[in-house]
Amino acid sequence: MSCIEAQQDSVQIPLFVAGRDVSAPVEAQSATVRIERADVAFGTLFLCAGATAGDLCDAARFQWLDSAVVNAADPNPTRVGELRGVTGVVRSYMYDLGLSSQLTQRDPFVLDAARELEGFSVVLEGRADIEAREIPFRATIPIQQGDNAELGVPVVRSNVDDEFRRDVQADESGLVVRFDPAPWVQRAPLSQLVEDGSCSEGGPRVVCAQNMEQQCDRQGDVTSSQDCAAAGQVCLAGIGCADEALIAPDADEPLATIFRSLRNAIEAGARPAFEWGAPSP
């Protein structure tokens, strides 16, 4: 960035965060999902002059170096701080989700918001109706720097084809960053949780038949069965009876697949909406 912009004015823009109304069920790959909790650790945030954030945003136009937990299931904006910078056109953005990558360390820095979410960037909870079965789930997803990615640069960046452009003036009244968890959930193959199966030679050691958990031996014989519903649980494919589907980084399949889908959706899929102007009361 050139050093010449003496004419620009310093601006502090009120920053709000918000979610979406998720009371309506979300159709997600043969599943109908009701989102009950969608907490996002948001921050830091940078708005850049160039069309490509990341390497080409050493000098940002605006920054917010704090973090906050966004209730993405609540459409009402909440003020979380101020975006500080100078007037001028912004064309791209980049942000972290509570876990900040550093140049000097391999491990990310856990910001307050992520600490509030027990070290995760996003926590999603809800119920998925799949083939007439209701599967409660809880996804805890850290969004952090991958091994091959560049250190010291926020993880989530706007796409070049995102139509993100704003000539920010000194009287800018606010910016609302609105997250919508529905697109993330839509990309999660939750239906894999209820795939019925039967014991077979060389097959999985646990299968579900309806809501019955069956333990299998190597020869494919059923060694035991359990009615999950009797214990108030659900039978999850490959897992068996469980109170809920725990979608976490160290989960086994098929939860690991769902985790990766959600992580990719959050990191590279649907972006939040940036709504300029102060939210109406």
């Binding site: 003496a6 004419q7 002059a49 945003c57 920054q63 170096l65 056109v89 820095f109």
Partner: protein, 897 residues
């Protein structure tokens, strides 16, 4: 006063082979009397103010010569005015004679010495180097010439009738003086050399003579530049890095917009890694600066590369009253030692001297210790039409640097104003500078004769003059600097923490330049096609070749400066050939017009060894990195000025010129028509001269630059920002109301604007721009005052007079706009000194920044991360400062033998 262009230094000369003569008394002594013979006769000085006022005068001195040939007494027998009397007495006191003899015995004698101060002819004037300005001694014309018939017809050697006191006593000498008035005098003609070229070509030409330069105390020699209107210099880094310069609306960084010459040697270095036109004046020793000439704007064809805001010419020399061997030792704040040795043999020309200075200091605050050593020598030799001047500069400096700190960190108490960040990458900041330059200049100047007016209307060689100079320079520069903290990622190593990232942005810059140059010019004798018209023509060339090797790397200070990225590695061969022509014509006595043009060819051969570097993720077997290329360009522009003198005390001056700044070679493309920063400059104003009482200049100027550059902290060097313009006004006054008082004051007001958006980049594809956008770093108002008082306090203190000197210098820079809507605080600096001189000794006390201003020597706005462990990296620009020096004192004791 030696060596200034307009303040023509004239020579009083006694031909060593011509004995001074005295009239014999009526009673002829029984033994043969031999008159005294002058053997050393250093030049007298034509009073500068008289020269400016075009005053002529005659002074007759009675001079008593003791038995050892020294001038025991000199008194004014016939006054020509105080300033002329003083000049004559000062000159003759330095003369040495073979004493008069009665038989074989040396005796006291007394002679009468008339000095005649005559102005040069109207033709023309001084040059751009000091040797052209100081008028040379030529025994054939300026020497003592017998003026009476008797003297002409009676060879001195044959004179056996020298009137000499019969006894070698002062009283006898005094007694004999009555009859001397009727005796044949030895006449000394002090004549300004034919001025060959008009010095003041613009209202923005300023000359700071020695009394002004020496009035205020200076922490360093280069600070003499602060006396120039609108020119401010400050230390932003360390004594091993060039100052930062600002001149009438230009933030000239380390010299990119100002052409500097010292003793005729060019100081700017093209395509330097730390900044185009990098000009380090740290070698200057203020004690031997005789005059400062500042040509603000562009209007003189001799102004070459980097003359964008203007040109600064520093002339060196030691005036007669300070000549001898001087030793000075000083101690001051922060354990600062300064030692100076100056050698200026009496009886030689003011330009001849040698000086060496060593300074070491712990520096204020943290990490600012350093040492510097400089040696300057200059000698003029030869006589007659050809004389020569040799000059040499040696300089070495190494110093630690504190770099910059974030203002928000100062505000939060995380780091103090004069401190450095507690990381190895910050504490390893330092710089080294070594420089060597030598030059030899031959001046061709046939002596004009007083009956030269008979030559009017002819083309003659009389009055023609020329110069041929050769110079050689070597410069070695190495800098370790970290402005941004921890933001860099290696382009070469794996981007994992601890290997290719987060090792500190300690930028190493190395630059080695070997340069050689030539300069030559010839100005014709005056040509007078009509009674109302006369003038001269000058043609000249200058050229230089530079071999530059430069690198830029990232170092990890924590592991013995391990290199963790190569950023630049280039070799540049550059040639700059300039040529000019200049007409300087008088139209009646009221109008003087000059019209010139200058062209420069610049050629570059660049070996950019790291260009086309393969990305880290790609195999490197598809090509060999490097980008060799060449470019050539041509810059051309007119230079014109006119001066109208309706009254003796009033001049109205207007000037226009087009200049250029050469490109940073490493940024050129192959075959590119070497884009030049073209500058167009207009100056207009008036100058009032009321004798010595007051010289007042009021002027306005407009400067437009096609392609400006501004400092980029991340790259540690200037980058292109687009076209700019300056509109400003200057008021400058110099007053010498009394012999013991000199004062100078200037006010420069400027509005500096960006005219078009800066060039787009990937990071900033559409740079914000508003018409009327102020340029950063440029102070809209600059004020400077200098005041010097020298007075005899006690006429006789144990047989020796005691005199005192008080000096004061004040600089003010108004609030400066910074990038990104920030504004720098104003700077207000007062320096003061007091000194006592008793016999050969001088005791001085100097106080710098006397009011104790806490100010930033520089301020920048850029992103940095000086807290790598806090988890977040700030990316918006933040204000950074480098502390300016606090209140500092220096106590010095010196002797001159």
């Amino acid at each position: 006063m030696a060596g200034t262009a307009a303040c023509v230094c004239v020579a009083a000369y006694v031909d060593g082979g011509t004995p001074a003569r005295a009239q014999p008394p009526e009673s002829v002594p029984s033994e043969t009397l031999t008159p005294p013979t002058a053997i050393e006769s250093p030049p007298a000085t034509y009073p500068p103010s008289a020269l400016r006022e075009r005053q002529e005068s005659s002074v007759v001195l009675d001079v008593t010569i003791d038995a050892e040939g020294r001038v025991a007494e000199a008194s004014v027998a016939q006054s020509g005015g105080e300033i002329f009397d003083t000049a004559a007495v000062q000159a003759v006191k330095a003369w040495k004679f073979t004493p008069a003899r009665r038989g074989e015995e040396p005796v006291v004698s007394r002679i009468r010495v008339p000095f005649e101060f005559t102005l040069p002819s109207q033709t023309a004037v001084a040059g751009t180097s000091q040797n052209e300005a100081s008028l040379e001694t030529d025994p054939s014309s300026a020497g003592p010439q017998p003026t009476t018939t008797q003297a002409d017809t009676a060879p001195a050697e044959d004179s056996t009738e020298t009137e000499t006191p019969s006894s070698a006593t002062p009283s006898s000498a005094t007694e004999s003086s009555a009859s001397d008035s009727e005796e044949e005098p030895m006449e000394v003609v002090v004549q300004g050399e034919r001025t060959l070229r008009t010095e003041d070509r613009s209202v923005s030409d300023f000359r700071m003579e020695r009394d002004i330069v020496a009035a205020a105390p200076r922490q360093e020699g280069a600070e003499v530049l602060r006396s120039a209107p609108g020119l401010y210099i400050g230390r932003a880094a360390s004594p091993a890095v060039a100052h930062r310069y600002m001149l009438r609306g230009f933030d000239a960084d380390h010299g990119q917009d100002i052409e500097f010459r010292v003793g005729g040697l060019p100081i700017n270095m093209p395509s330097h890694i730390h900044g185009q036109g990098y000009a380090d004046l740290s070698f200057l020793i203020g004690d031997v600066v005789s005059e400062l000439r500042v040509a603000e704007g562009v209007h003189d064809p001799r102004q070459g590369d980097f003359a964008v805001a203007g040109s600064v010419y520093v002339d060196l020399g030691v005036e007669e009253e300070r000549r001898g061997v001087a030793l000075q030792s000083g101690y001051g704040s922060f354990n600062t030692y300064r030692q100076l040795i100056r050698w200026a043999p009496r009886g030689t020309q003011n330009e001849s001297f040698g000086a060496a200075q060593y300074t070491r200091s712990d520096g204020f605050g943290e990490n600012r210790s350093g040492q510097t050593a400089s040696a300057l020598f200059q000698h003029r030799f030869g006589s007659g039409a050809l004389s020569y001047r040799a000059i040499g500069i040696l300089h070495a400096a190494r110093a630690n640097q504190a770099g910059v700190v974030r203002q928000d960190d100062i505000d939060s108490g995380r780091v103090c104003f004069e401190c450095v960040y507690p990381f190895p990458t910050a504490q390893a900041q330092n710089a080294l500078s070594n420089r060597f330059m030598v030059g030899l200049f031959a001046d061709y100047r046939p002596r004009d004769t007083r009956d030269d007016h008979s030559e009017r209307g002819t083309h003659g060689r009389r009055g023609a003059n020329g110069q041929l100079g050769l110079w050689l320079g070597y410069d070695d520069f190495r800098l370790q600097e970290n402005f941004t903290g921890f933001t860099r990622i290696s382009g070469t190593l794996d981007r994992v923490a601890g290997i290719g990232t987060g090792r500190g942005d300690l930028l190493e810059q190395q630059n080695r330049t070997l340069s050689a140059g030539i300069t030559g010019r010839y100005r014709t004798a005056p040509y007078r096609p009509a009674w109302w018209l006369h003038g001269t023509v000058e043609v000249g060339i200058d050229g230089r070749v530079d071999g530059i090797e430069q690198q830029q790397n990232l170092l990890d200070a924590a592991v013995r400066n391990q290199t963790w990225d190569n950023i630049d590695d280039a070799g540049i061969r550059a040639l700059d050939l300039g040529f000019w022509g200049d007409l300087d014509w008088n139209i009646t006595r009221y109008v003087e017009a000059r019209l010139g043009m200058r062209g420069n060819v610049l050629s570059y051969d660049i070996n950019d060894r790291l260009f086309n570097r393969a990305p880290r993720t790609r195999p490197q077997d598809s090509f060999i990195r490097g980008f060799r290329r060449s470019a050539l360009g041509f810059a051309f522009g007119p230079r014109a000025s006119v001066e109208v003198k309706p009254l003796d005390w009033l001049s109205v001056l207007g000037a226009y010129g087009e200049g250029y700044r050469s490109p940073q070679a490493r940024l050129l493309e192959d075959g590119e028509d070497a884009p030049f920063s073209k500058v167009r400059s207009v100056d207009f104003g008036v100058r009032f001269r009321a004798s010595d009482l007051l010289t007042l200049t009021v002027g306005g100027y407009y400067t437009r630059l096609s392609d400006d550059i501004a400092f980029d902290a991340r790259e540690g060097r200037p980058e292109r920002i687009g076209a700019t313009r300056r509109l400003g006004a200057v008021v400058h006054a110099v007053t010498r109301p009394f012999d013991w008082l000199v004062g100078s004051a200037s006010l420069t007001v400027v509005d500096a604007e960006l005219l078009e958006p800066p060039p787009p980049t990937a990071e900033e594809p559409d740079p914000p721009f508003e018409r009327g956008q102020s340029l950063p770093f440029v102070p809209p108002v600059v004020i400077r005052t200098d005041l010097g008082v020298v007075h005899t306090l006690v006429r006789d203190l144990w047989g020796v007079p005691l005199s005192g000197r008080i000096g004061m210098g004040y600089s003010y820079l108004s609030r400066r706009p910074l990038p990104f809507a920030e504004r720098a605080a104003p700077v207000s600096l007062l320096d003061a000194s007091v000194a006592l001189t008793w016999g050969v000794g001088v005791l001085s006390f100097e106080l710098f920044n006397a009011i104790g201003s806490e100010y930033a020597a520089i301020e920048f706005n850029f992103p940095s991360d000086w807290d790598p462990a806090d988890g977040v990296r700030p990316r918006t620009p933040a204000r950074h400062i480098a502390a300016g020096a606090p209140r500092t004192w220096m106590l010095s004791l010196g002797v001159t033998l």
